[in-house]
Symmetry: C2
Subunit: 387 residues, 2 copies
């Protein structure tokens, strides 16, 4: 149940030698049609990797036949030479598959500021092309892992069609987007316009609301490929729901596997004037190192939640600080901006998942943003290795 679950797709994951660990590091996903519809959403970082520059342009016509992904190197901040490497990668895939380079999307992940070993990568592409299989989705999911500890796949079934996806991402998870590479597939019949709109909508409420460590990546890419192989043209809302379901499933898997984390924290803001205001307040909490460290220590330190909420400018999220309520795992520890139930009633050690509910009492809108706790393992992973 992965990216090759929808009909019309083959995939592969192989070891090209880009990673010192010797683990798989090159993945190939091919859309055998009859449609070759594609849409993409990319990092909003102004410093973007060569493959993002390439793929953003290549997908702009709504058509793609293949995606090549490598771990073991981000090909970011590598100058014109790095862009040349991405171009060569796409040309090589096009030659091997008999398509055109402009229809090949490229994704890379790994250390910033190092050139890719192109001889290894191109040979790896040959191996991946030879290994392409309608059952290859799981191998592809494994080959794109970096500090991920488990491969990530998800599917959703429609009426005679389906949606599948794979994802990688464990650190640098932040809005707009995280260090994530995601490829979604569907065998539904869909136009490029609908694919684009459905993907943007799904991303906005799923991947964009995961903020593991507040750090925005240079390489984030979420792609949707549609083969039309089912022959079914689903209702647009049904397609949107299925793509959002798979995206949400993968986003939760990203949070659950975030670097060094011991808790997944869902910060839900209600009573906001607008959804944007709710998101802004939730993001402020998910970015508080002090609160995240407290959760790691199983300390329901709600004062740090309020201190974070109070940093949001009034024009972004109107609220009265004297009306704020905060509940942690259902215990209302803060009522009307002051002391509520005893913090001793909150048990954070019982489960990995922590629920923080902030009520602004300013309107009707709500939103949830996911994050992780700040742990020794996070510091260790991100100080001990160049990634």
């Amino acid at each position: 149940m992965t990216i090759t679950t929808p009909a019309g797709f083959r995939a592969a994951g192989v070891t090209a030698g880009l990673k010192a660990s010797g683990r798989p590091d090159v993945a190939l996903v091919v859309n055998d049609g009859p449609l070759h519809v594609a849409a993409g959403v990319f990092t909003s970082n102004r410093v973007v990797a060569a493959p993002v520059v390439w793929s953003r342009q290549a997908v702009s016509d709504g058509v793609a036949t293949a995606v090549v992904l490598n771990s073991g190197g981000a090909n970011a901040c590598t100058g014109p030479e790095g862009f040349g490497d991405t171009h060569r990668t796409a040309e090589h895939v096009a030659d091997v598959l008999g398509t055109s380079a402009g229809d090949v999307l490229v994704c890379s992940t790994g250390l910033i500021g190092e050139r890719l070993p192109m001889d290894l990568l191109l040979a790896g592409i040959d191996g991946a092309a030879a290994a392409l299989s309608p059952d290859g989705g799981a191998d592809a999911a494994t080959a794109i892992m970096t500090t991920d500890t488990v491969p990530k796949s998800a599917t959703a079934a429609g009426d005679g069609w389906s949606v599948g996806g794979i994802a990688k991402g464990a650190g640098m998870l932040a809005p707009g987007l995280a260090t994530m590479l995601v490829v979604l597939t569907t065998d539904a019949v869909v136009t490029a316009e609908v694919a684009e709109a459905v993907l943007r909508g799904a991303t906005r409420s799923t991947f964009d609301r995961v903020d593991s460590d507040g750090c925005m990546s240079t390489n984030d890419t979420v792609l949707l490929l549609a083969s039309g192989a089912s022959g079914v043209t689903p209702d647009r809302d049904a397609l949107a729901a299925a793509v959002t379901q798979v995206s949400g499933d993968l986003a939760r898997q990203l949070v659950a596997d975030a670097e060094g984390a011991s808790h997944d924290i869902a910060v839900t803001v209600t009573g906001a004037t607008t959804e944007e205001a709710a998101v802004a307040v939730a993001r402020a909490v998910t970015r508080s190192n002090l609160f995240k460290a407290a959760v790691f220590g199983n300390d329901p330190n709600w004062g740090r939640v309020l201190a974070a909420v109070g940093t949001v400018p009034e024009d972004v999220a109107p609220f009265d600080a004297a009306l704020l309520d905060v509940a942690i795992n259902g215990v209302q520890v803060c009522r009307a901006g002051g002391v509520g139930e005893s913090r001793d009633l909150v048990d954070l050690a019982a489960a990995r998942e922590v629920r923080v509910d902030v009520h602004l009492h300013a309107g009707e809108a709500t939103a949830t943003v996911w994050t992780n706790d700040l742990t020794h393992d996070y510091v260790h992973e991100n100080s001990a290795y160049s990634t």
Copy 2:
């Protein structure tokens, strides 16, 4: 050489029993005049502690005779009862000193969301009043410490007048301001208007540019008291320079004593279109957990600097990503957005201080923001204790 170095001030620091550790926790600073000029700058957090609400109002007439400060409790998010506690504190100080409550400023620091033990605090104020001394500045500096490991004092000498100051703050250090309490004194003759302007200017370029952990406090307060006891009216620029010098000195002491830090990091952005743009880019870097963890690991991971720089919106800081230069400890590891000198040439282990220079090549403005690395000790201190 501390807050009582300028003439006309007495201070004391005593143990009232607010801290479980039994360390000093109540400080009193008295301005014996002849002038009783005062100015204050407070946190920009919308969730503010009761003493901030009180002191902001009390200092608004430009007059104060005393400041009472306690550690062992922030009196934040404690509702109307907490505000009543602050009011009672000011009234008690006024009774003991024979002044009016409206001329007594109050500062608190410690855990958010707990009421202060008022019986202990009021008895502590009696003890502090009895201990007031023209040599009491160092005791006051000690009594306001929380997770600080050393007391912080600084002075600057003018021509027949001087400026002194004490500060506390180790975590929750972030712009606008940090979890810091700072009291500055001068025996210069100065009007309330000049005191206010000089304090704002000094704060803007010193305390506001320290961002240890990106977390903004509910209690931050920086006060300037002027006694006029020197009889000298200094040139305004000379006073501003002295206040800025003392503020900068104390700000550096805050960074040097930040919770769990093993490096002090100065991020300097040059070639910006405006000073605000330079500050915005520098802040983005100082808030990157990934970069800060890399510095802890002595890893000059400049890709994480660029990834952070790229998150700043174009309307905030115009620049071309293809022109960015980054130097770490003087080694230009990134040139024109791509690979520069080898990162192996950078030695981060040699010194506590790390210099990161980012050149935007977009204008002439520059700014420096200080931060710390993200360490195991930071996570430990902020997960193991409610502070």
